[in-house]
Symmetry: C2
Subunit: 239 residues, 2 copies
Amino acid sequence: MDVKTYKKDYIYSYTQGAFPTIELIKNKHLFVDKVIMHSSFKNEVVIDEIKSYIDNSRIFINDKLVEKLSDKGNQFIIGVFKKYECSLDENKDHILLDNPSNMGNLGTIIRSSLGFGIKNIAIIKPGVDIFDPKVIRSSMGSIFSTNIEYFDSLEEYKEKYSNHTIYSFMLQATKSLRDESFINSPLTLAFGNESSGLDLKYLNENSLIIKHSKAIDSLNITNAVSIALYEYSSKKSSY
Amino acid sequence: MDVKTYKKDYIYSYTQGAFPTIELIKNKHLFVDKVIMHSSFKNEVVIDEIKSYIDNSRIFINDKLVEKLSDKGNQFIIGVFKKYECSLDENKDHILLDNPSNMGNLGTIIRSSLGFGIKNIAIIKPGVDIFDPKVIRSSMGSIFSTNIEYFDSLEEYKEKYSNHTIYSFMLQATKSLRDESFINSPLTLAFGNESSGLDLKYLNENSLIIKHSKAIDSLNITNAVSIALYEYSSKKSSY
């Protein structure tokens, strides 16, 4: 048995650590190929939970392989899975990310979105690979409870989900997030790339700005998304 | 001339890159020791701004040194400064961080705080070193507009700033952030360590929770702080 260190063109990827591995198995067990544990991993609660979902014949002990696949060297369990594709739920609210370029940020955004009740995320290409183990780790496994779909362009997204009102977060907007009631439904909260923000083609009557002092030029993208989600969920009382 | 790669016990530290270096020079020019540029650095606007604050005799070109001190290899300017100590402004609102353990997170929190008008941050020890270049870089230089003071304990902080009402953010709190009016002034927004949160001794009638779905066990610390700051500044209209 061999599993190689992840590359984007592989059809398989893997989780690192107990928590994301359980999230994988609970939510996507049809796609799980195998679970590999380090011989020093003795957490019976975790092992029992894993065995309740997948057959013993797919659970292996292989210290060398676990060590190779654990970037940070302190993970004792790896869940190997076949990559899959999703469509978004057309009746639910979405997050849209135009060309997200940082894997840790993307994982954190997936986790925050789930925390505020949004389980459908559109990514406009390019944009980092959602199945990179770094994204999975920083999402803490919440990626497996989330539908994520890639699009070549904003136009392609708008055509497929034409029922969604897009609220675009941009420094050029004049309406403050705080004053938005989010009455349109379903809706999409859209955010740009870490360095460049959203292109001006996103500017419309529903564009919003998160007001902050002039002492900084912008908020970190993960913070901007989480503030938007917080305000959205306060207005929607959606959880 | 030599500047060594930063260690915590050195009396000097340094900025990496033009933006934080200018923030350093603008806000703490009395502590600037020297500026070291790469010979390929040609941004005249930046160079002129630096020369308007510090004497030519303290500006050096040294490619090898700049390359050594730039962790990520793409920074062309280094600002070396003598470390300094601050006291907090007792009449202003504070952020309190109990044992922050991640340098990138701390820098991001300093930046968000400045973005929402809070320029005074208390750190309860232990906690990472605010002068580590990683913290400075992730604060994007906003650390130089912020007073940061270390304390051995919460008790020491409370004794020195006894006029502050502490709002502690904890999963054990029952009052929702959204329902808090922040009428007490001056006030302190307190947050715990990334893994362990705040100790139960922080639990009081002003403890607050940021409500989120049960699908995640907690929000990332930088997101929690930025959401709290957003709500605080909306209520205070403090900028």
